[in-house]
């Protein structure tokens, strides 16, 4: 059926075009002969083809364009009175005798065009007459094209300012009224098309209407191009005229298209000054019209206008743009309560973008928009719709991106409230946006209360929420998240120690509830943050006299103890041990001997009870020895206890080589190269000798179990230690002792039962070279080395 119809249309169009061409041929012949009568006859016949009802708008347009082309020749003929001898006034009368109304009116418009040009009558009178006469054609498609013709021929003859048709009572107002009237009538015809024909071809109707819309919209273009239409006239005449028709026609297709047209065609400056009228009409449109889209378009245009130059910004303030737009939007959202949430939120996003562009310093406005969002979401369960979630993320990200300063967003009371409505994965996504913004912009967060708000916002990352266990998360994602949180902990900072302490307490409060999986990430940064503060306090003198206790190192160490203690729940003994040692060293620097001792105790307890892996023990004991070696705060008793313990554990490591190395490392515990450092030559020697014994035992074990003695590396290492301590002036280490050791090594290396090891050989060789070098140095060192024979 449809295909048949389409084929038929093609046929009719072809027939129509043929008929036009034929009549046009005769018309032109008559024109050439200056035969007015014949010309009118054939032109009327030609125009009769436009009386068809059979064509869709698209095809009708083809036909129309043919006729239009031919009429230009006719118009030229009409203009030249010498050719037909009839005055234009009479001609205007004459063409009205044409039989059928449609050809009659086309001819009338054509003559009218010439009439206006002749200036024998005021333009406005002719225009008024024409626009009224066109009422005679009420068929939608035919009427629209007729009026479109009128619009086209009159376009350059409107009594605009500066035009030749202005003057003597012919003013811009007349031009405007003419166009408005034509527009109004065209819109009525256009709307009527919707109701023509049976219901089942409604879709087809809408398509046809869509094809015709530019004919109607063109009038708005014309209005926008009339020079004489200034803001005043737009406000008083043009806009009310247009809006009245738009609202009253009650047709959703027309309303949407025309409002859109209006917004696009007229300058933004005008829209700004007529916001109330515009927005008022928006609220009166049919319920099915997508008002949000219109409002978004309007706001986007206004946003761009604002961005174009800072000079225009005061205008926005003057017209209270934000107040008007926001209340229009609240109304729309309220009126359309059934609108899905995503629609409302995308409106808020448009409004927020506008606000950030136009009023970036008005945080209260930004907060209002967020507040509207909170109201919309309240009472509802957490958002399920993915698009709605995306929009909320856009809403929340906009202020952060604009200000590049998360702290500003933190001051908006409604910001955290909006976040509460997010489901946990979107909440985490948003939290990451916030953290990344802080990291990228190096945002400094200076106050503890802001830190509180921040950590509440990122709560989803910091602890388990909504009963979702951490195990369900992808491990890599989880680690990435937690590393971000860890890095974030370094960002809050304040020069004032009291405030800094408050900040750290705030952070501690939030991370302590993170659970065993998060603590290993979040505890270390907090610990080092605290240690940095301790150092800062060290350099400040004395205590501030006041009612509140100032932040002190002692307080911080108590805090540190608590924080590291939490790691036992993970459990994370190796990490905790390292952190205890750091605190011990820091306490030592603050001269707090008991505190330092306590930290060492904790470290040792962990070593004894929790560090079971032998490789981990080796590292741990070296860290203990290394830290202890540097400590100067301990009195003799405490130091003895600790060094004794350390040495004892060193000797108890599983593998003999490890034992050996740890034990000779301990020798440094008894010789500190500092003026008031300990210098216990005997204990040093004891360690070294013990190391030697262990090395020997290792050699023997190797012979027994593997059939040959192991490499001599350990001996060479011990030799180097002997040399080191010898150089430092330890009286217990004699030249002869070194001599014997050298000989021992040489023997071992030459012995058949020793495994050859190029590494040890090179090591020994370079050690020997070193001894040689020291000898040749001369001076004090040379003398010391003199007795050595290598």
């Amino acid at each position: 059926m449809v295909l048949e119809r389409a084929e038929d249309e093609e046929k009719w169009l072809a027939e129509g075009i043929a008929a036009i061409q034929q009549n046009a041929f005769y018309m032109h012949r008559a024109l050439d002969a200056n035969n007015l009568r014949e010309a009118l006859k054939y032109s009327a016949l030609m125009l009769s083809e436009l009386r068809t009802s059979n064509l869709s708008p698209h095809k009708y347009y083809d036909l129309y364009m043919r006729a239009f082309g031919e009429l230009r020749g006719l118009e030229m003929f009409f203009k030249d009175e010498s050719r037909h001898g009839v005055s234009i006034v009479d001609l205007y009368e004459l063409v009205q005798h044409a039989g059928n109304i449609l050809p009659r009116l086309y001819l009338l418009c054509t003559v009218g065009s010439v009439y206006i040009k002749s200036k024998e009558a005021p333009a406005k009178d002719i225009l008024k007459d024409l626009v009224e006469m066109c009422r005679g054609v009420q068929h939608p498609i035919r009427g629209l094209f007729l009026r479109s013709y009128l619009s086209q021929v009159s376009r350059d003859k409107l009594p605009d300012i500066g035009s030749e048709y202005e003057g003597d009572g012919d003013t811009v107002m007349d031009a405007v009224e003419f166009v408005l009237q034509n527009f109004t009538e065209m819109n009525k015809l256009w709307v009527r098309l919707q109701h023509q024909g049976p219901g089942r071809i409604r879709e087809k109707r809408e398509k046809e209407r869509s094809e015709l819309r530019d004919l109607v919209g063109k009038n708005l273009h014309v209005l926008s191009q009339i020079e004489g239409v200034d803001l005043e006239m737009y406000k008083e005449t043009v806009l009310p005229g247009v809006l009245e028709q738009v609202v009253n026609c009650k047709d959703d297709l027309a309303q949407y298209y025309l409002m859109e047209c209006l917004i696009q065609v007229f300058p933004d400056e005008y829209h700004l000054q007529t916001l109330e009228a515009l927005l008022g009409s928006c609220s009166q449109l049919q319920p099915t019209v997508d008002v949000k889209m219109l409002l978004s378009q309007l706001m986007e245009r206004l946003s761009n206008y604002a961005a174009s130059s800072p000079d225009v910004l005061p205008e926005f303030l003057q017209v209270e743009a934000f107040a008007k737009l926001s209340s229009a939007i609240w109304k729309v959202v309220d009126a359309h309560a059934e609108m899905p949430v995503v629609g409302a939120i995308s409106l808020y996003v448009s409004l927020l973008t506008f606000t950030l562009r136009v009023h970036p310093d008005r945080l209260d406005y930004v907060d209002q928009v967020l507040g509207a969002c909170v109201n919309k979401l309240s009472g509802k369960p957490k958002l399920e719709d993915r698009r709605a979630r995306k929009q909320i993320v856009a809403l929340l990200s906009a202020p952060i991106e604009k200000y590049n300063d998360v702290v500003r967003a933190l001051t908006l009371p409604n910001y955290p409230r909006v976040m509460e409505y997010l489901d946990s994965s979107t909440n985490k996504q948003m939290a990451m946006v916030i953290i990344q913004s802080i990291m990228k912009n190096n945002t400094c967060i200076k106050e503890a209360d802001k830190v509180e708000v921040l950590f509440e916002l990122i709560e989803g990352l910091v602890k388990d929420v909504d009963g979702i266990a951490v195990d369900e998360l992808d491990e890599e994602d989880f680690n990435e998240e937690q590393n971000y949180v860890a890095r974030l902990i370094h960002m809050p900072y304040n020069d004032d120690s009291e405030e800094m302490l408050k900040i750290m307490c705030a952070v501690q409060k939030h991370i302590m509830g993170g659970g065993p999986k998060r603590l290993p990430f979040t505890v270390p940064p907090l610990v080092f943050s605290a240690l940095r503060l301790v150092r800062r306090l060290q350099s400040q003198d004395g205590e501030v006299v006041g009612e509140e206790l100032p932040a002190t190192p002692r307080k911080l160490f108590r805090l540190l103890s608590q924080i590291i203690e939490a790691l036992s729940s993970v459990p994370s003994p190796e990490l905790a041990l390292r952190l205890y040692l750091q605190c011990a060293e820091a306490a030592g620097d603050c001269d707090l001997e008991p505190v330092a001792y306590e930290f060492f105790t904790q470290a040792f307890v962990l070593y004894e009870e929790e560090v079971a892996d032998s490789k981990a023990q080796v590292t741990a004991i070296h860290l203990i020895i290394g830290s202890l070696q540097r400590m100067t705060v301990f009195g003799v008793e405490n130091r003895d206890t600790l060094t004794h313990k350390a040495t004892g554990y060193a000797a108890k490591l599983l593998k003999k080589p490890d034992q050996c190395r740890a034990v000779y490392a301990c020798s440094h515990l008894f010789w500190v190269d500092d003026q008031k450092g300990i210098k216990d030559g005997e204990r040093v020697l004891l360690c070294l000798k013990r190391a030697l014994r262990i090395a020997n035992a290792a050699q023997q074990m190797a012979s027994v179990t593997r059939g040959s003695a192991g490499p001599v590396t350990l001996f060479v290492e011990i030799l180097n230690k002997y040399l080191y301590l010898f150089e430092k002036g330890n009286p217990q280490i004699t030249s002869s002792a070194i001599q014997s050791l050298v000989e021992l090594i040489q023997n071992e290396m030459q012995s058949d039962s020793t495994t050859q090891d190029p590494a040890s050989d090179t090591f020994f060789a370079s050690t020997v070279r070193y001894i040689q070098y020291q000898k040749e140095k001369g001076g004090v060192m040379g003398e010391k080395y003199e007795p050595k024979k290598v």
Partner: protein, 189 residues
């Protein structure tokens, strides 16, 4: 000429959030032939970042590194030089140059690169050169007060190595350089 970047002790995220922006903008991929890292990165993200700067990446294990399989020491040859790498917490007393010299003799290298103290040093002794590139992020250290972010770039050319040290002091990058020469191709004296 061969460019070798030496850096370490970044302690991300335990002690520092990231490399300083000024360093990041200087460290551009494709300009460096080798990277030697003294350890304590501490996380994989830092490893991956360094890998983008240069695929030939050598790392020694620091006591806080997430990756426990990095070696305790490493040796490699670049041009005429033998380099040794070790984090340094294993060598007691920490930061003691004579003890480090012992390690250098043991590894039999011309240049020993170590860290742990977060303090830049470049020291020449009869056995060779000991370089500590400091902490690239200026991380807290129990050993050194007032740590400035620093790293080292070595330009190895034949028997000569020029050591450039970049330090971030009060927001400005300051550069210093030190020259070292080997006398023979076997060991430096």
């Amino acid at each position: 000429m061969v460019l070798v970047l030496a850096l370490g002790d970044l302690h991300v995220p335990h002690r520092a959030p990231d490399l300083p922006a000024k360093f990041k903008s200087m460290l551009v991929p494709g300009k460096i032939q080798h990277i030697i890292c003294t350890g304590n990165l501490c996380i994989k993200e830092v490893h991956d970042y360094l890998k983008t700067l240069c695929p030939d990446l050598h790392i020694a294990r620091g006591e806080y590194d997430e990756e426990t399989r990095y070696p305790e020491t490493k040796t490699l040859t670049i041009g005429q030089f033998k380099l040794g790498l070790c984090h340094g917490h294993q060598v007691i007393p920490w930061g003691d140059l004579d003890s480090l010299a012992m390690l250098q003799r043991q590894l039999d290298v011309d240049i020993l690169v170590t860290g742990h103290t977060h303090q830049f040093t470049a020291y020449k002794h009869e056995g060779g050169v000991v370089i500590n590139p400091g902490s690239a992020t200026g991380a807290y250290s129990s050993i050194t007060y007032d740590v400035n972010p620093s790293f080292v770039l070595m330009d190895i050319d034949g028997l000569r190595v020029v050591v450039y040290v970049y330090e971030l002091i009060d927001g400005e990058v300051k550069v210093d350089k030190i020259d070292f020469k080997k006398t023979t191709t076997t060991t430096a004296h």
